[in-house]
Amino acid sequence: MASPPADLPRQFASRAELEAQLRELFPEAPGGLSPIRGGRQAAEQLRQAANPARYGRSRNFLDGAVTRLSPYIRHGVLSLAEVREAVFQKLRAGGGREAGEKLINELGWRDFWQRVWRQLGDGIWHNQEPLKTGHSPASYANELPADLAEARTGLACMDAFSQELVTTGWLHNHARMWMAAYVVHWRRVQWQAGARWFLQHLLDGDPASNNLSWQWVASSFSHKPYIFNRSNLERYAGSSLCARCDAAAKGTCPFDASYEALQERLFAPAAP
């Protein structure tokens, strides 16, 4: 049966051809394809490769055994229930419940944010609670600074993350946290500006997980703002970023300080 005329094509000789077709269909959409492929087959491969025990031990490290399933879960290519079952099956085959606690817990985070979204609707775009930074909401800039979006902050870590976000559409959770903290606390930019930028690019871009994580970093959905320092970043990212960073070489790395010093530098004392 011939397709009705309004249908978009389903046959492509190559990814390059798909990309060219998409450029024609959506001329305003910036950039090109991600190296990460969509579809159930790609999702199945990642599901098979997932290793709950290694995940539990290494998930905070940029080169740790995270699943990279998020874009597929976000779009229901694999449902959260299917992933839960796949994890259970692996645990039954070896490792037992203990080996899977962490991964199941992280799946719980996704379920949690979805439930909050169901409850708040578009309210997830507004602060859930007052900021705990001592700064008024009005003192945060509305727009994302161009040097960040263009990966030319001069900070090797942030520029690498920005570039990875824009070219691949995926970032490790820790990189997302560091980047969000940098945007909100060091650059004093509204979390919404950062959240909008992430949603343009993340293949797993999901207003609930994204905005509420930004709010968690900003402190409008947590007890205190999230910050990090250079030694925390080097511990989980390795030292290669700092080794090639001009700011680190010149001694101007804004993260190279103790948590106490950073607290003092970044936040205003709470009103008495």
């Binding site: 950039g31 159930r40 779009h75 229901g76």
Partner: protein, 140 residues
Amino acid sequence: MKQPILWIHGEALGPANPALQAHPGRPAVFVFDEALIREQAISLKRLGFLYECLLELPVSIRKGDVAEQVLAFARQHQADGVITSAAVDPRFALIRSAIEHELAITVLEPEPFVALNTPANLQRFSRYWRQAEPLVWGGY
């Protein structure tokens, strides 16, 4: 509904989609939401990812105003209703009621990650997880 079409949306692009499971073989459509894509300046890589997911599903792919396109697809197939799956995005509710204006629509619930037996406490994750964790592991 004797002759429904299926509306597949971006929260359910896999075989666990309850509409696809309940009505295999019925004509199905996915619509790229042009207004949303433009307003949020969604990058091409996100659209490409979705497109590749769709190429592995038995669906017609369209773009434009979602409700209009779903209704046009329904007319083409002389459908007497639309079947879809529940979505969390509040935009879904708007599109759903625009469709419902002209045609009956049934919304099927996907299998949940966990079914709670008390109202969820969503103040903080830790409180929610205290309720949910034992139930999740109950299935292990």
